[in-house]
Symmetry: C2
Subunit: 361 residues, 2 copies
């Protein structure tokens, strides 16, 4: 099947290693923390514990960099320099990483595809919490750009699909804006609430004893690895500041409704919030019938990103993808859930792509 | 054992009925919604479905009013007027209810003890979600005041203890202030976040597909029965507006740290939030050795509230309580967890109570 380098063998890297090894791949692991790497080997998350970055990359077809956000660009560039055919990462912020790799690696950035699995452990953190099923049914974002090499994208996508994740292709900047809302804001909102609770002196003990379900859920949320968050906040600060401002404006609005005892608008506020929550799709995104979309594509850069991120913008995951090149251009084959096919075909039509669709059950 | 009236047979009333019947009591139920009352009877949450409020109260030793906040005072007053010996409620806001009952029932308010079980269903709402174990290990606040009759307090406390809940005595105003933080603010914060997410057009579909654990936890929180929240917000508006203001100030502070890319203070912010979350006590409050505190008490009003809410302010639940009256005053016996005994004894000492303590295993 091939050889994969996994750099950083914590929760995400370890889980990825377990999933890929289960699928029959050889995994070469490296971690700057020797004890953690040793533990990954013991847990069966890697086949071999490399003594250095370069040793992990040697002979690897694909490399996944699963270190904290601030270390991603250097480790990715090292993989590209070492000649690995396709390189991805798992960082929570994407645009700064893509730009940093571009600046450091030049044209070789074509072999880099940014990635972000939207999954975390509810239980143990780090390599101890690693689980081959961690990504099953979760969304895994890939962020191809106009300069992304389709072969590199396909190689990364194929491996990610082996984890059971639903692949979503999204523009790096849009990704950062959306995760500011669905991931960074919840963490910040829960953490700020913990500070307010901590200030409840002299009745702090009593307050904690009264903490029921809702407060406990926020506690779990704010209790995740504090160390990774300053990096995330700084890297994605533009989107985060914007979403915090919108959040405070919304809180200000409901505060005024409460102060004025406006029952009817308050009911509307709570009902709209409930409706939004209940519109969440089920986690098992892979279910249901599939459709194969086949389209001739011109041999120019950016086609892959154009087509795949169109699906991402429609909230449609890419179940399978294949690109073949002929003498007069290529053919792109994309498999998507049938429920998402219509909006994509319409969007492709607008972009001038002539698409043939076929149900594939 | 006795007869208990339960008025309002939804999630809380139904669960209470199931728990009390399991303990051998007779439960007379009433609900303005005849279908819900019928369902409570079918589910075994009540022994008899009364045709009216007064029929439910007839012959009852204790009454629990488990209707929405705005209807509590009237139903409580009716129970007092009907001569029920001890009356309690389960509303989320306490001071306005205590004051309303005082205004309506006059001196009979002595037989009313406000209550608030800090438990809710993670699953189904309403009578269908009712569960005899719902309160097991949860905190159940009682709010005695200076005018509370010790016999009424003891009668309510004894029944509540049968549900497996840990009884905490807290001043009504302090209760409202604390639940604004641990219950009302989390709900408002999660709901406001849902509004921000709903506004993420035109990428709303994609945003929902990216929703991972943290966002989903908030979704569950904001998805609870919207209908009860306007009442709660209006009844507890002073405390809620205050806590929202403090929350927005905290968000403003972290927003500025993010905007200025201040890594070190951000790390401090996240670490403090995590520490606060991890200081939450385990839900099983009943565990561990117990201590019996025995103290002579003068025969004057307010002693019960003074002693029991002292425990509540120290975050200590009351495992058992008994008051006996002699010719020269009374003796109050209070059983508390051994871990909480020292601060209570010290506090009682300051108030002039001479306390004898004895380990009771």
């Amino acid at each position: 099947m091939g050889t994969v380098a996994v750099v950083g063998t914590g929760l995400i890297g370890g889980s990825l290693g377990l999933a890929l090894r289960r699928a029959g791949l050889r995994v070469q692991g490296y971690d700057a923390d020797a004890a953690r790497l040793e533990r990954a080997l013991e847990r069966g998350a890697v086949d071999a514990a490399a003594g250095s970055l370069l040793e992990a990359y040697a002979g690897a077809d694909v490399a996944f960099v699963a270190v904290t956000v601030s270390g991603v660009a250097d480790a990715v560039t090292a993989a590209l320099d070492a000649g690995v055919g396709a390189v991805s990462d798992v960082g929570s912020v994407k645009a700064p990483v893509v730009r940093a790799v571009e600046a450091q690696a030049g044209g070789a950035v074509a072999r880099f595809v940014g990635g972000h699995p939207m999954a975390g452990s509810a239980g143990e953190e780090g390599i101890e919490g690693a689980d081959a099923d961690l990504f099953d049914g979760a969304a895994w974002v890939l962020t191809p750009t106009a300069s992304t090499d389709p072969a590199a994208f396909t190689a990364v996508r194929d491996l990610v699909a082996l984890t059971g994740a639903a692949v979503m292709a999204i523009d790096p900047d849009l990704h950062d804006e959306l995760v500011a809302t669905v991931s960074h804001l919840p963490h910040l909102a829960a953490s700020a609430l913990m500070h307010v609770a901590a200030d409840a002196q002299p009745n702090h003990e009593t307050l904690l004893r009264l903490a029921a379900g809702g407060f406990r859920a926020l506690t779990r949320l704010s209790g995740r690895s504090a160390g990774i968050w300053p990096d995330i906040c700084v890297e994605n600060r533009t989107a985060i500041v914007d979403i915090l401002d919108r959040y405070m404006k919304e809180l200000e609005r409901v505060r005024d409704l409460v102060a004025a005892a406006e029952r009817a608008p308050l009911l509307e506020f709570f009902e709209a919030a409930r409706a939004e929550g209940s519109s969440l799709p089920e986690r098992s995104a892979g279910a249901g019938p599939l459709v194969e979309l086949v389209m001739p594509v011109p041999d120019r850069p950016g086609v892959l990103a154009e087509v795949t991120t169109l699906a991402g913008r429609r909230g449609v995951n890419i179940v399978d993808l294949d690109i073949s090149h002929g003498p007069t251009g290529g053919v792109l084959v994309m498999v998507v859930p049938a429920t998402g096919a219509d909006p994509i075909v319409a969007g492709l039509d607008e972009l001038g792509y002539r698409t043939t669709r076929r149900d594939v059950g």
